[in-house]
Amino acid sequence: MSAFSQLPLPALDSIDVKILDPDRISLSGTIAVANPRETLGDFFEAVHSAVVIEKRERISVDVTQLTFVNSSAIRLFVDWASWIHGLPTDQRYQVVFRTDRRVTWQRTSFAVLETLSKNAFITEAQ
């Protein structure tokens, strides 16, 4: 059984998380709760652990339908990049974010996140 099939999905009413296949996750909805770390942060950390356990080189996260995230949630993406950089070089992987350039927060945030992540994040804007 793959580590991905056992991922605990976040219990957050405003978003829908789907694991579409072992390499692809989609997030849709909005994240405006004051402390998303308790739910979404734990999920991101579980995904990170699963990627490392399964020695994957790349994972895809589709956020095109994630229409808004607050600044607390932006920090969760930053955390994710930090976890990747905290790995030994041979265990590092890339997260490919599929974004929609028409969505305000995605257009501005991922441009900077991609730069700061130093190759841990790749953005594929549609």
């Binding site: 405006a32 004051a34 808004f68 607050n70 932006i74 930053v78 028409r102 927060w105 900077v112 996140l113």
Partner: protein, 173 residues
């Protein structure tokens, strides 16, 4: 739900404009008590803004509203009320959030705004980088997003009692 929303008929979301005593047209006016859901206001504002403005404008207004209100609730004196208003003022749309805070926090906010108004994009990058390296204290990412991502001009207005602070984010319609 710990909030009071003032609209034409006191329902949420509003269906028409409110005429404010201050000479501008208030679209949404909410008095907020501590501990309520910012998430709810976000849905409310976004749905309303989408019904009146183009999609990207609606997203900008919802983003600025969410971030400014989160900041106001995070840094407010618990005994004082927080208010939120979206209003039309001439050719501009304004998001107006008022709270009460301690003077030291207000001073810090003034300093942050001065830095932000010089170069919003650079401050945005700096704030994300600060989060990544976990250096420094609590950041100002919410305020920066209201400026850089929502592309709104941010202005601070201080009340006479030394604790009231109003943040006004505005952009052209």
């Amino acid at each position: 739900m710990a909030y009071r929303a003032a609209t034409e008929d006191d329902t949420v979301p509003p269906h028409s404009d409110l005429r404010s005593a201050r000479g501008r047209t208030a679209l949404i006016n909410v008095s907020w008590e501590s501990g309520c859901s910012v998430s709810y206001l976000h849905q409310f504002v976004e749905a309303y803004a989408r019904s009146r403005f183009p999609r990207q404008m609606a997203e900008r207004l919802a983003l600025a509203s969410n971030e400014l209100l989160e900041n106001a609730l995070s840094y407010s004196l618990l005994s004082k009320e927080v208010t939120y208003e979206m209003a039309l003022s001439g050719e501009r749309i304004e998001i107006i959030v008022t709270n009460h805070s301690v003077p030291a926090r207000i001073d810090l906010l003034q300093q942050q705004l001065e830095r932000l108004n010089e170069n919003p994009e650079q401050v945005y990058k700096d704030e994300l980088e600060k989060s990544m390296t976990q250096r420094g204290g609590r950041g100002m990412l919410g305020l920066v997003r209201a400026s850089h991502e929502a592309q709104m001009a941010i202005e601070l207005r201080l009340g006479g009692d030394g604790t009231e602070v109003t943040v006004v984010a505005s952009c052209r319609r």
